[in-house]
């Protein structure tokens, strides 16, 4: 059986709305409580990848960490329209280090 996963993006409205044009489902949120609820809800709904802005992700670190241990969905941090907080890049570096033993990036 072939699964078709969906892609979602979570963040403040002005940062994420443009993703709609790409056919990605957009979930505007403004605070941590809302963000946690949305992420937990859509994680149950066949979303394979969830993009989330660093600004919002920094409000819900435990939730993000919880999904790190799951295979699906993959939660990817992206910068918002107000620039990056470097959390996303740091996570990639950490993952690379975990996977191959040294930071090659």
């Amino acid at each position: 059986m072939i699964y078709m996963f969906k892609i979602g993006v979570v963040g403040d409205k002005d940062s994420v709305l443009a993703f709609k044009a790409l056919g990605v489902d957009v979930f505007p949120v403004y605070d941590g409580v809302e963000a946690r609820r949305i992420v937990d809800t859509i994680a149950q709904q066949k979303y394979g990848i969830i993009f989330i802005t660093e600004q919002i992700a920094s409000l819900i670190p435990e939730t993000i960490e919880r999904y790190d241990r799951e295979l699906i969905p993959a939660i990817i941090l992206i910068p918002s329209n107000q620039g990056t907080l470097n959390i996303g890049m740091r996570r990639i570096n950490e993952n690379v280090e975990n996977a191959i033993g040294s930071n090659i990036l």
Partner: protein, 333 residues
């Protein structure tokens, strides 16, 4: 239309004009630290009535729509003839029609995108359209809806829904303006059509569309013949500016297109367009007998709300006061 019918409405509008936001207040908002401070300044003005007690920055649209709704309702009660207000409100009808056709095409509920304004009861149109029975709907709307729906069924191109409904909108708007026989209204609509055509031309030029597509997208009834605008498709921006310089909107077009050339942002052109159309309305401040002040007050109010929206969105996204200033429009008073 009897100009004397508007005596009382003009007198009352004069009072409302004094409550429009002044430039000094706008400046204060531009320099505000964050959107909460903008709200506080707004709370000192006539907007206080539509501002709920507790408010999140992201809810700014609610205030702006509430105010817009209040103003339209007020002016509708005031105006001796509804048509004066309809001229401004008609765009909301067509926005809703576009959303309606798309929502049916997508088979999706787009309720949050409808704007609760317009010249007619939209719920009635919506119910009739979804039931497939348009015989009680205003013939103009019916024709527009049928044209857009049939075209979409035939070609499946959602862009054409906008294109077709825009055409019907401007046709309808032009007919309304003609019916009033007030020079300001006809001028306003015709200039708006010209500006829209130039905007369309620039956009389609960028998309490398062919002449046939451009001819189809342009609107009739402007002061500049649409055939003439279509022929500008292969011209450079400089030559477009040059060829349009002798028209009334020439200077504004020049300014707008030059700004566009510099920044690559069509919103700079739109700013010049808004400023020009506001300039057209300014003389209404000295008209005491006639419907013009009511119409111009609505234009002023819509511009004011647009300016507020620019400030608030910019504050939410932490833009610098200078960047905000560059985007603001002229005000009425």
């Amino acid at each position: 239309m009897d100009r004397m019918d508007f005596l009382q409405a003009v007198a009352r509008t004069r009072v409302f004009e004094t409550r429009l936001l002044t430039w000094a207040r706008i400046e204060r908002m531009v320099d505000a630290r964050d959107i909460e401070e903008v709200f506080r300044i707004l709370g000192e003005t006539e907007y206080a009535n539509v501002m709920p007690g507790s408010l999140r920055g992201e809810d700014y649209e609610k205030i702006l729509y509430a105010e817009l709704k209040r103003v339209y309702k007020l002016m509708e009660e005031l105006s001796a003839e509804k048509i004066v207000v309809d001229l401004m409100a008609l765009k909301y009808d067509y926005h809703n029609l576009k959303t309606l056709v798309k929502s049916k095409a997508l088979n999706k509920d787009l309720d949050e995108l409808y704007i609760p304004l317009g010249t007619q009861d939209f719920q009635q149109i919506k119910t009739a359209y979804l039931a497939g029975d348009l015989k009680d709907v205003d013939p103009k709307f019916r024709e527009a809806l049928e044209a857009a729906t049939n075209d979409f069924e035939l070609k499946g191109d959602p862009q054409r829904i906008d294109l077709i409904l825009d055409k019907y909108y401007f046709q309808h708007l032009y007919e309304l303006a003609k019916e009033t026989d007030i020079p300001l209204f006809v001028n306003y609509v015709q200039d708006l059509i010209d500006f829209s055509n130039i905007k369309t031309l620039i956009r389609l030029k960028k998309q490398n569309k062919d002449l046939r597509f451009v001819e189809e997208a342009l609107l009739s009834h402007g002061k500049i013949k649409k055939e003439e605008i279509a022929l500008l498709l292969t011209d450079s921006l400089d030559s477009i500016i040059n060829k349009l310089r002798n028209y009334e909107i020439g200077p504004a077009t020049k300014k707008g297109l030059e700004a566009y050339q510099r920044t690559g942002r069509l919103s700079d052109f739109e700013k010049e367009m808004d400023n020009y159309l506001m300039g057209l309305n300014k003389p209404s401040q000295y008209i005491h007998f006639g419907p013009e002040p009511i119409f111009s007050y609505l234009v002023a109010k819509e511009t004011e709300i647009k300016v507020l929206r620019i400030i608030m969105v910019s504050k939410l996204n932490k833009l610098s006061p200078d960047a905000i200033r560059g985007r603001l429009r002229d005000l009425y008073v």
